[in-house]
Symmetry: none
Subunit: 157 residues, 2 copies
DNA sequence: TAGGCTATCGTTAGTCG
DNA sequence: CCGACTAACGATAGCCT
């Protein structure tokens, strides 16, 4: 067989990168699940990728939020012990929360971007669209927007 | 050697569970870092555990979000009509590369942050440190800095 | 308790259908 | 493109210090 030794660097080849992504995403999620099960602790992973139409969230968005909440609560317990560090942690908590929201939102936009890119490319449409093309495109985007919003609602529920 | 075959279930023995936790946490974070680097995508993991004085968060959310914000800046509507799509993808790739570098750096910062927080908390040290405490702390940080730098070098090699 | 070691098991890069 | 396969590499349970 050929060499397996892989440099830890961005994989330039699209096909190889996607193949690697799918394998490793699966492996990573398995690792999180094992850690959670074996050690009885809450943990989550969020993977936002252009290959998937939605971000991979393990175990699920609700639990992910719970993990982040625990993050918060554990720091609150320490309040009396060290005010400065507690404040520092609180900052990190709110940033982590922002991160989750932004990842979710970012993915929504990313999905739309990919959709539009694919649409324009498949239909060989360039910069200047005809009125009809614009109508079709807008419909498509609108429909997709609803889908994505439903997904997000479902995730938040 | 004895059995390596491990049942995928909660490890009842506290010592064994903690040992497994520390090893697997390390391995998991490495996996996330690899996925992020190899595939140029944003991902994070949050591990909330009673073993650590604070939850493990990878990477540092702040800088990771800056990268994602860049994606957001290319607004959906602007993209679809005005911008050359190929160029857009090319930008994405170079941004992903920047991301990899930044995440690596963030990780270094994060380790130091966690170290410092853990130290202060474990030693029940609050705002005003004695001169001696400060010296010990500096030594600790300095040592950790070297460790982390070695890790990064190893990753780059 | 933490850190180092290695046999064994798990993951995955490259390849083929 | 995807799924299956397998050699090679990586992770880690158990042990020891």
């Amino acid at each position: 067989m050929t060499r397996r030794k892989v440099k830890l660097a961005f994989i330039c080849d699209d096909t190889a990168r996607k193949a690697s992504y799918n394998k490793r995403k699966k492996g990573l999620i398995k690792k999180v699940r094992e850690l959670t099960t074996l050690c009885g602790i809450p943990a989550c992973a969020i993977i936002s990728s252009p290959f998937d139409s939605q971000p991979e969230v393990w175990p699920n968005p609700e639990e992910a939020m719970n993990v982040i909440d625990r993050y918060k609560n554990s720091s609150v317990k320490d309040e009396n012990r060290n005010v400065n560090q507690e404040r520092f942690l609180m900052q990190r908590i709110s940033k982590a929360r922002d991160q989750v929201r932004k990842l979710k939102y970012d993915n929504r936009e990313q999905e739309l971007n990919l959709l539009m890119f694919g649409y324009l490319q498949n239909n060989n449409i360039s910069d200047d669209l005809t009125a009809e093309e614009l109508r079709d495109f807008d419909k498509l985007v609108e429909k997709k927007l609803k889908e994505v919003d439903n997904k997000i609602k479902k995730l938040d529920a």
